[in-house]
Symmetry: C2
Subunit: 191 residues, 2 copies
């Protein structure tokens, strides 16, 4: 009887694919199989086509981001707290998931739906944070989302380039985001 809790081969392939494709998005599946320590035929037994493998990677990435976001929000005392925690936990995922943004995964309706759902959740958080006074209500929510995403990316790249530690980059991105989009007095020192 096949053990449903032992898909180790499949997991190894997914892991190897993240590893290899994040370094070279056009790498051949043979490299992925080699990195996973399995034969190329076995890879195709688990993922019929390259497209199917990429789709599995995208779904895995979404799961991982959900898990990270949920963990960050779990014991957050406010939207501000939640955003600050999310920034920290999402930075390390850049290496792993970054290359997927250059893959045409939006064609798949399931992936597109999940993306939309995450976008909506982020928008809700931004609006909650606006109500809290963290962000200026006059700034479009769409821009706050863009700025969050790209400053997150900047932080990841800063760490990757050795310009800052994980904690330093998170602090800098946070400062840039909040002081830039704040209501204008929240961060002022009390005299």
């Amino acid at each position: 009887m096949p053990n449903p809790l032992r898909p180790s081969t499949r997991d190894a392939i997914v892991e190897a694919a993240f590893d290899v494709l994040s370094r070279d998005p056009s790498a051949a599946l043979a490299q992925v199989a080699e990195r996973a320590g399995v034969g190329r035929a076995t890879l195709h037994r688990h993922f019929a086509t390259r497209e199917a493998l990429i789709r599995a990677l995208a779904l895995t990435a979404i799961e991982e981001m959900d898990a990270a976001a949920e963990a960050a929000c779990a014991d957050a005392r406010s939207y501000e707290d939640a955003f600050r925690r999310m920034l920290t936990v999402l930075i390390p995922l850049g290496d792993r998931h970054g290359f997927l943004s250059r893959e045409p995964v939006d064609d798949d309706p399931e992936i597109a739906a999940e993306f939309q759902r995450q976008m909506d959740e982020t928008r809700e958080m931004v609006e909650g944070a606006k109500a809290e006074g963290l962000f200026d209500p006059a700034v479009p929510t769409a821009w706050i989302t863009q700025a969050f995403d790209h400053l997150l990316y900047a932080a990841w790249e800063s760490v990757r380039a050795g310009e800052a530690t994980h904690a330093q980059a998170a602090d800098l991105a946070w400062r840039t985001l909040t002081h830039g989009l704040g209501t204008g007095g929240a961060e002022r020192k009390r005299p």
Copy 2:
């Protein structure tokens, strides 16, 4: 006698390559040739290999960014003014040059040197702006550069997504950058 002022075929190929490859970085050269309205053989007469074409695109992009930056700085009255103008003129180049960041052009020493030179120029501008009081001297110059680059990218994407006009996106990116990295009181309203 060959007219040195009429490399129209070569220009058409470069233009088509920007057009096609920015939409699909893995597009075949046949698509580039077709878009340029030339035969595939002619493309190879001008650019022996795909790599040579990409290199030409990178050099063209660097030239265009230099020209845009120079125009922005030409009649700038301060570093702050120069940064604000550069933000505006560089946003439209995102569509055209963005895909090059995912090409392994750094292998070419000439390209790498040009990149380094542009980085150095940006760093000098950041330090000048720090001395002017635009940026907090306590914030690492490397982070200011990263934030500028990525907020520029965010602005471009915002325009592309139809979330904002060119001018609106530039304003939002500028606000995010300066109020976030400012000395802390420059933008405060005088009572």
